[in-house]
Symmetry: D4
Subunit: 252 residues, 8 copies
């Protein structure tokens, strides 16, 4: 209930068109109003689009294929774009039975459906990754950023141990408005890359590695301790989160 | 052996009705008496009901289906309610061959059988959870609390990132006498929720999440460091433990 | 603004006694109203007492003596009881210059002032601890529980390696309505004690120990993994938090 | 050496005005040219300003007062603004002997000197913090953001356990273009706050807390696992890093 | 080569019966002599029996069934008892093809063959465990101790949350010369038990538990921090190691 | 109350010499009897000597000098030997004011007083340590073992990186009945040493080291994972605990 | 572009044989030149051989069989030796369909193809391991070192608990120019071995073990804290990395 | 006792010049001979020089100034060079009272005395560090390498966030035979630097940093997970260890 709507309601009360009881109920209702859809096991947050410009995204992890398909069909039914991350092939199958036009990207483990209008971001989001094994997370980021209305460029396999590969991509780096850097193992790429540019860098550690990589902890710590300016970090393997942040920045 | 029983025995000795030898043996027996049933691989603690108002609950984890079925049938044979947590479908099958009326709840991985009389708790235990993926733990808590003689309400998928979903449930929150809050990832729900109510909150971290959630450690630490009053914490994924504590409180 | 107040306001609008503009402003004000006192570096939450029956408690850690003294004087000025935890002697000195009747308890590192009326809890809160070194935390809990309107009993130095010391205190254990158990090192006391009673046990790990106690982590993990029913846990050394929870339970 | 300069040099060679030997030396010199000032124990990176719009910032930690004073005087001598973080009073004293107009902010442990021209950012950077103990880190962020050419607003002590304090500040939240959220203990504030806005949130965990806060690890993990969109994280207590990132975003 | 053998050899040299060259070769050979059998992938340490009274035991973990069978047949061929721990059914099958009289104990995952003479220990080794899920480790300990020539008693499922179960077994506890205590979860049993007896207690943490048990770390830390005297600890799930130590003590 | 005493009491009841009321009171008293001395902040466990052959030992850590002095004087007053570990010079001073004949060993941080009769152990306890920095812990072990009635030998600075130092001490190793091995850093000495002997080895990790020694964790893990038989482990820096266990073994 | 090449180019400009425009383009091209082959998902670093004497090695972990086969065929097509580590049988199958002469070593999980000329190292690289379970990592090291042009010797199963096995191999140890030591569990072998030789020791912790070995962390920490000189460490299970370092040393 | 010496002795026995008894005693003595000096609290390993070309180095940490001075004077008395690491000013003072010509380097916390002949290494050892705060560790490495007979170059403050600083030092990098790289925070320098050279790189993580650097753990993990070839790692802050390894390599 906006200030304007409240004023009109109160004028109607003054004019006798609406009784105080009914007006009170309306005000209280507005305060209680639940801007979400309750499907029992989930409360789909349709309000999120109002707040953040993109509908609720479904994290597939820990949900059954049926739950994912049910939530997906509700979002699609409202004419909005669909994004499911960490989706298994089984979840994709279940979604496609109810939303046949949905697309499954197996490398990125992502289900997408573009529909409705999404505001376009200003510049380009660059997704860089250190090695071939980082591709699933990098692609999750790239697909998310693209679906959220951004131009996306990719620069892959530019790990710091062969510096010339990164240096040869400097033109691309300088064209970007925001850069997402995906790296496992020692996670040094964000530090080196952020020293070459003047735009925000979102660092995504990956669980790529073995032994003392501890499932991505080594890369995470490396990125948190980056000596370069402009680096902020998201959770291990969270390509989606990096893209959502980058998209917010690119839409400023 | 109570004080009263001891007094009577000693009077019988004085009266010559019982010899000192026999009385001595009785006293020593009472001191040694083992209030449990020894089935070789387990000592079923029937005494627990006397102490805590509910018979021993079987933690299915690490026990074979046969062991679970054997212990279950002993408890049921005494006319007492049955609760097995962390039960696999194989364990449920084995139990039902010996206790056909037992019910298996696959989402909560719990086997139950209501029988005998259980004292009723005073008020309502509310079970809240942050996301759809927390449901197995939330349901373990809700089923346990219900079987232990409590009225149970559920408020699911009210994570803090969409605060209006939680705020819209404030009436339910205020009706509860004890609240169990189940959350994974950053585990922030107990802090926010406990700031809205004046009853004890039992927080249950879940292993829902990935990367730096470290199997529930992030949620656990978040809850232990809660800046809200009235929050205490149980082990990761321990829906049963939260319900047992909540039930004790609700039976005060 | 309660439902009742809203109804009256709307009737006044209908009656022409209040203009719609003014009523609208009042409603919006009520929604915005900040039930706290802003002193620049802190927003003292006077609303907390309405919600939870006790005014905001000051955690001394990380605040300067001047900040603590300023917040203390604001709370005392409203006629409410004062509780500062983790207070250094310097903080106590600063508080007493502005609130001369405040009392400093050096072992518990707590500043208290009893004033105003506090609702009394129903039964007794028992504070048990495993060793002499746990006393500072146990006393923080006992003083907090007492100030919050509860009868408090203490059973100290009853660690599990000399079981007869605990068993000799069983009468006291059985009289309690809630039990706070404070233990460092292996933190086994809550498990053993909870097996002897039928009331909720709040376990407080302490940082007492050395080497592989890791500042209380060993005790914390022991308590979280307790095989006994009815045990919930608060942060390491958090005597205050245990008492606040116990008091909520005892006031049900 | 730019493309243009190279072309001119080569034309001079063709014209015979410059010998090949000399031209070769010039090209190689340009490739070798070190855009930093070597003072023995440090290589002051004057090139950073060209890349990132602000001169090198001095991390005081682990440097002697003399080293800090020497580097400071070199930066000031070039007419550029000075920022030293984690500066002890001794370091401030040493700097002021060589740069008398430098200002020391003891709460934030920061030395600043505004001089020269700094490009202004577009909107406002809001710095929010959860509790009074988070002020040193919050102030480090606010002072850094201000010195880097941004308008700064502060909203302090709005922790999630008293939600009304945060909700009462929603107008300020919505005015901001970037938000820095500083929180210790369970670190839940960024999740809740990011759910209320549509701008990027930079989360800064602090080492405020005790016991299982593990020097800020609990808050760090909470923030990395945030279920809210648009949250990225910097190192524990790294107010400077958050502000540097926020400033980059605000200057896009 | 003993002192006596050396003396005889030198006398033979003096007597001219052995040339200096040959004697030198013998002395050097004795210094180089390798008291093990090299089978390429392993050096079977037959010398161990001389040093420690029992032949080399095979840790099945990380070895192929063929490697285990090959080493087993070499040990059996020398007429010595066989013990393989952490043996899979496949390993047992492979061993039995070459050593048909070997026995596989599936609960304890142990292969045994009693043959040859083993010196008997003095008293009884008691193996106690806290819960049914600890049986695999407890049985590994009990079978090992028995094979190494000790009388073994078992007291199972005597966890501390139902103290009467342990207290009822005090007679057995007092009969033992060494006690092995096996416990998972909070690992409190060794502390309580060691307080009731005056013999050495070898504590074995198990990986039984979930969540914050961290695969046995909680129990391990609990035992290392035991406040009871006479408790020493072996690796998580290392029933064999506890029994080997207990047997050494029982053979003193 | 022994069986014999109980029989005599019951015969007195039968004979009319004792009334049932009085006898009942005596039996109940015996069951309640507290074999400890309550000094308010501590319950001194005089019963421990009956159970374990040595009076309660005072862990100085976390106790005030006054508390230590008070407990010490109670133990000495009963004519028993005194042992305080982790005693500061201040504690030693406080103890000596009340027990002037007590001796302070500053390297080992131990206060001792030999008096009364202590049963002698059978053989020799050898205390070995890896480096000079391990001496405080090694001396705590050696002094404890000696006071508990054992012959003690010392072999110091025999770390594995200079193996000839250890090999030159083999005669001493073979004379021992129990061996305590104290080592920091990588903690490899127990593995190597246990491979050379056939007696139980109690391994004590020390906090000696830096960086990735993590306050003794590296040594602790090394010892828990020892591939040698007969090694059990106590807490980091717990020289006392190792000696108490070794003494129990040596008194078998 | 070398200094010499630059000089010649500039002389050609002076001579009019090359225009300034073209020369400028050549210089800029040389600065931009990308010495790698871009296959979309990977940038194969052919430049690495120029820098380090051996072509890029493929880490199989996290790459699909198709990706591995594609990169392998590119390397082989240039006539260079092939090395794939952590290769699954599926990857080996895929590689052999395109490079039929490639060899798969299942124990070491390595694919190799020797072709082209590799410079020979000076001395012998010795690979030692502590137990049979360490063989996969030891073989990865030995095969890598051999393919990189080094003479390799193996000494396996010489763990420190049976010291005579190691001492009997001293001749081999002394012949080596570099030693790779592979060990799991407590990881003590490098310390002991490095004390016997005067050449660099590269220590490789393995994930062999259970319980508190924490997947190789115990061995890793042991090696990092080695009290012996000349020990440096690589990642857990990183046989390849140890061999690459050893080969660099052996080629000096 | 060498083979040659043994042969001569046995010939003397044959010739009757030495009796078998005496010869036997000599052989046994040689086997027992302890090539170290026992000063009670330490066994100074003079044999180490024979094995490794440099006398025993004293780790000052955990030793008293008196112990350090005593061991120092013994080493100097034998005409050998002295090196004490982690020496406090107090230790330096104590050493200089007994060895007046010893030199204390306060930044590196090292005491040195050059005397006697040390074999020279072949090439140059380069010591690089990432930031000014890493200087103490870098200097410990440089001084150690120099004292051990190596030419040393230093390249300081070349962290990866300002890549041009490192690239400008490529000539120096290429001149080195071994490179020691010292870095804290994210520890990325070794990966980047090793990709530019073809010589072994010894990486030294430092404890420089705060928050999630965890005392050097972030840098340590980064280095262990380096994607560059030829990197091996030593303990956090272990400049000495890196230099000792580098010196061994440089003396090959």
């Amino acid at each position: 209930m906006t200030t304007e709507a409240l004023r009109k309601l109160l004028e109607a009360v003054q004019a006798g068109a609406v009784s105080p009881e009914e007006a009170g109920a309306q005000v209280l209702d507005a305060m209680r109003e639940a801007p979400f859809e309750d499907v029992g096991f989930a409360r789909i947050d349709h309000h999120r689009e109002l707040r953040q410009g993109f509908p609720e995204v479904i994290l597939g992890l820990g949900k059954t294929p049926e739950q994912i398909a049910e939530i997906s069909s509700r979002i699609v039914a409202r004419g909005r774009p669909l994004l499911v991350t960490r989706a298994t092939p089984e979840a994709a199958e279940a979604v496609r039975q109810r939303v046949p036009e949905a697309v499954y990207h197996p490398l990125a483990r992502v289900i997408t459906l573009e529909q409705g209008e999404i505001p376009r971001g200003t510049g380009t989001i660059l997704v860089a990754c250190a090695g071939t094994s980082d591709l699933p997370v990098a692609e999750e980021a790239a697909l998310t950023a693209s679906l959220m209305g951004n131009d996306v460029e990719r620069v892959y396999d530019v790990g710091v141990a062969g510096l010339h590969r990164l240096l040869s991509a400097q033109d691309q780096l300088r064209r970007a408005r925001v850069i997402i850097v995906v790296a496992g193992m020692e996670g040094a790429l964000p530090s080196v890359l952020a020293g070459l540019v003047a735009v925000p860098v979102i660092a995504v550690p990956t669980s790529v590695g073995y032994g003392a990589s501890f499932g991505g902890v080594a890369a995470l710590l490396g990125m948190l301790n980056s000596c370069a300016n402009g680096v902020s970090v998201v959770n291990i393997d969270n390509g989606f989160g990096a893209a959502a942040t980058a998209s917010l920045i690119n839409h400023l």
